[in-house]
Amino acid sequence: GSSNKSSSSKSTYKSELVNKGTLTVGLEGAFKPYSYRQNGKLVGFEVDLSRDIAKKLGLKVKFEPTKWDSLIAGVGSGKFDAALNNITVTPERQKTYRFSTPYINSQYVLVTRKGDNSIKGINDIKGKRLVEGTGSDNAAIAKKYGATVVPNGDFPTTLQMLKQKRGEATINSLGSWLVYAKDNSTAGLKYQKLDPEKVPVAKVAALLNKKSPKLQKKISQAIKDLKADGTLTKLSKKYFGADINN
Amino acid sequence: MLKLTSLNKTFSKQSALTDITTEFPENQTTVLVGPSGAGKSTLLRSLNFLERPESGQYEFNEINIDLSKPIANKTILSVRRQTEMVFQEYNLFPHLTVLKNVMEGPVQVLKQNKNKARIEALELLKKVGLGDKADSYPNQLSGGQAQRVAIARSLAMHPDYILLDEPTSALDPELELEVLKVLLQIAKEKQSMIIVTHNLEFARQVADKVIFIEKGCILYDGEVEPFFNSENKRIKDFVSAMTFSSIA
C-alpha cells in the first residue's frame, strides 16, 4: 500500500477513477460463469470478484455490461476503470494497456465430436474449422495452429455448431466447459485438456488504462489479498465447481 | 356496327347509366353531349370495357355479349383492339418518344413488323401535322400537339371505332382549333367515331348523329339540326349554355 500518508489527494489512486468513490467495471454480462444474468440480476465469478476488490479499496462498485469491442474501447477512452472479462495477459496488449496481477490461471480444453478421431491433439487442428469467439485468445491459438476460425459469439451456440457439423472443434477455457457440462447435455461431444507445454496456461487479469498506475497497484494488491485469505478459491468453487487455479 | 340494348351501370349504389339502348352507325360520327355528371364518359368507357356495366346487350360486328354474364378475357381484348380511346388528358406514355408511342400498339399488340410499323407511324404523324416531332418526348409537346399524337396513336391500330372523351377541353382555343381540324379531316375519311364534346360549333359540323344524355338517360337520339333547333325546354337551355349567349 502507499506508505506516504502526506501525499496530496491529487496523486492517490482515487483521482484516477472515472467516477468519484466508485470502481466502474466493464464486462460482457453474457458470459457464464464470468458474468451473466440470473433472475434479473447480474451475477458471476468476475462480478463477485469485482465487488470484493472494491470492498478492499473502500469503493462502491458499478457494472457496465457491454460488447467485447466496447470493453476495450471503454477502458481506452476512460469509460471504465477496469474490464474484468476473462481477459488474458499478452505482451501485445501490454503495450497499450495495464494489467493487474492475474486472478485466474486458465487451462485450455479442446472440444470435439465423439466419434471424430481425426483430432487427437492440438497439432491435428491444422486445416480444420474451429468455432471461436471473435477476438478471443481461443481464436488466436486456433489460428496459430493452422486452423480456420469460424467466428461465433456464445458458447452454447458454438457447441450447437459442432453438433450441426458446422465446425470440427473448439478451444475454450476449462472453466467454461465445466460450467456448461454441469447442467447441460454434452451428448455427442468430448473434450481434452491441452498440454500446458504447447499451449501455456492463460493468465487472466483485470485490464486497465495506461494512465492508472496507482489503481493498477491497488487492484493487484487486493487480488493478492483475496488469494491469500481464500476468497478466490471460494469464488472459484462457487462458480466453476472446482478451484480452477489448481 | 356497334349496338347497345338496355345497358345499365351503377357505381356502388348510385345509378350512372339507365336502360341505354342506341346504336353507333359505321363510317359516321356520333356526338355525345350532356351536362357534367350525366354519364357521357361512363358510356364511352363502357364501350371499351374500361367500365363494366352490370346488364344489357353489347353487339359489335360478329361479337354479341350478354353483359350480365362474365365476359371472357379474350373477348375484352378483341373488342379493345378494334376500338381506340382518346382521353381528355391525352395519356401519352411519357417514357416513350412520340414515334414509339404510335408504334407501341402495332408492334406489341398487333405484332407488326417493326420497320413497317415505323413507316406507318411516321406517315400518321405527318398526317396530324407532327412529322418533325417523332423523336420528341411527350412532355416537350404543347397540349394540342400531345392530343394530335394521341389521335395518331389510335389511328395506328386501324380501329373500327375511335372513342374520344372531350379531346380538346384541356386546350386553349387556338390549340383546340388544330385538333378539331384533324378530327374533321378524319371524319371526312369515313372513320367511325364517337365524340364527347362541349364545343357546339364543332359538334354541329362534325356530327352525323347526336345523343343527348342527362342523369344517365338518353333524352335525345337522332339527327343533328333538329337537336340544335329543338323547342324542348331542357335541350334549349343546354344548347344556349354551350353558346354562352345567356350569361347575364
Binding site: Q38, P65, S70, D154, P156 | -
Partner: protein, 236 residues
C-alpha cells in the same frame, strides 16, 4: 421451455420499457425536428453565406447515411472523450450512455428522415405555395399552415418505416453499455444456454411494438387523409 419464457418475459419487458421505448421515442422526436430543420435548410434558395450552411447540412446527411450506425455510436461514446479542446473541453467530451445514445440515434434518424421530408415538401404542388403567398402569407406561415400539414400525409408511410426501423436499431445501444432489451435477452441466454428461444422471444416483443406502431401509422394516415374522402372527384 415454458418456464424459461415466463421467467425472462418480465425482465425483457422491463428493459424494453426502461430503455428501448424511451430511447426510440426521444430519439425519433428529436430526429424528426432535426430532419425538418435539415430539410428546410436544404430546400431554401437563399444565396451567399448560406451556401456554406447548406453544404454543412449536406455533409451531415451524407455522413450519417453512409456509415454504419454501430460505428457512429462507438465514435460518439468512445471517440469523443479523445477530442480535447483547450478551454471548452479540456478533458474531452464525455457523455452518459443514454445521452450518447439519444444524440447518435437522433442524428442518424435526422439524416434519413430529412430526405423523406424534403421529398414530401417537394411533392406539394407549387400552386399551394402560390395560393398561400397570394393571401399575403410569409414563407414561414405558408410552411406551417399550408405546406407541412399536407406534406405530413405524404411522408407518414416512409417516416413510420424509419420509426419501426429505429425500434430495432436501438438494440445496438448495448455496445455503449445500455442494457436494452436485446442485451438482456443475450445475458439471460448466457445463463440458460438457450439463445434460440431467447431470440425468438425478444423478436416477438419487437413484433408487438412494431405492430402497435403500424396501427398508429394506420390511424394517423386516416386522420391526416380525412380531407381526401372517397366520394371526392379530386377537384382541388
Amino acid at each position: 421451455m415454458w418456464q424459461i419464457i415466463t421467467n425472462s418475459f418480465p425482465q425483457l419487458l422491463a428493459a424494453g420499457l426502461k430503455y428501448t421505448i424511451p430511447l426510440t421515442l426521444i430519439s425519433f422526436v428529436l430526429g424528426l425536428i432535426l430532419a425538418l430543420i435539415t430539410a428546410l435548410v436544404r430546400l431554401s434558395n437563399q444565396k451567399g453565406f448560406f451556401y456554406i450552411v447548406k453544404a454543412i447540412f449536406r455533409f451531415y446527411v451524407w455522413l450519417f447515411r453512409s456509415t454504419p450506425l454501430l460505428v457512429q455510436l462507438f465514435i460518439v461514446f468512445f471517440g469523443l472523450p479523445y477530442l480535447k479542446i483547450k478551454g471548452i473541453f479540456p478533458d474531452g467530451i464525455k457523455l452518459e450512455p443514454m445521452t450518447a445514445g439519444i444524440i447518435t440515434f437522433s442524428l442518424n434518424t435526422g439524416a434519413y428522415c430529412s430526405e423523406t421530408i424534403r421529398a414530401s415538401i417537394l411533392s406539394i404542388p407549387e400552386g399551394q405555395w402560390e395560393a398561400a403567398y397570394s393571401i399575403g402569407m410569409t414563407r414561414a406561415q405558408a410552411l406551417r399552415r399550408i405546406i407541412l400539414p399536407q406534406a405530413l400525409r405524404v411522408s407518414l408511410p416512409p417516416l413510420s418505416n424509419s420509426f419501426i426501423g429505429l425500434v430495432k436499431d436501438t438494440s445496438l445501444a448495448a455496445s455503449i453499455t445500455i442494457v436494452e432489451m436485446f442485451e438482456v435477452s443475450q445475458q439471460i441466454a448466457a445463463e440458460n444456454y438457450q439463445p434460440l428461444i431467447m431470440y425468438s422471444l425478444v423478436a416477438l416483443i419487437y413484433a408487438i411494438f412494431c405492430t402497435v406502431l403500424s396501427w398508429l401509422q394506420g390511424y394517423l394516415e386516416k386522420v391526416t387523409s380525412r380531407y381526401i374522402s372517397a366520394n371526392g372527384g379530386g377537384n382541388v
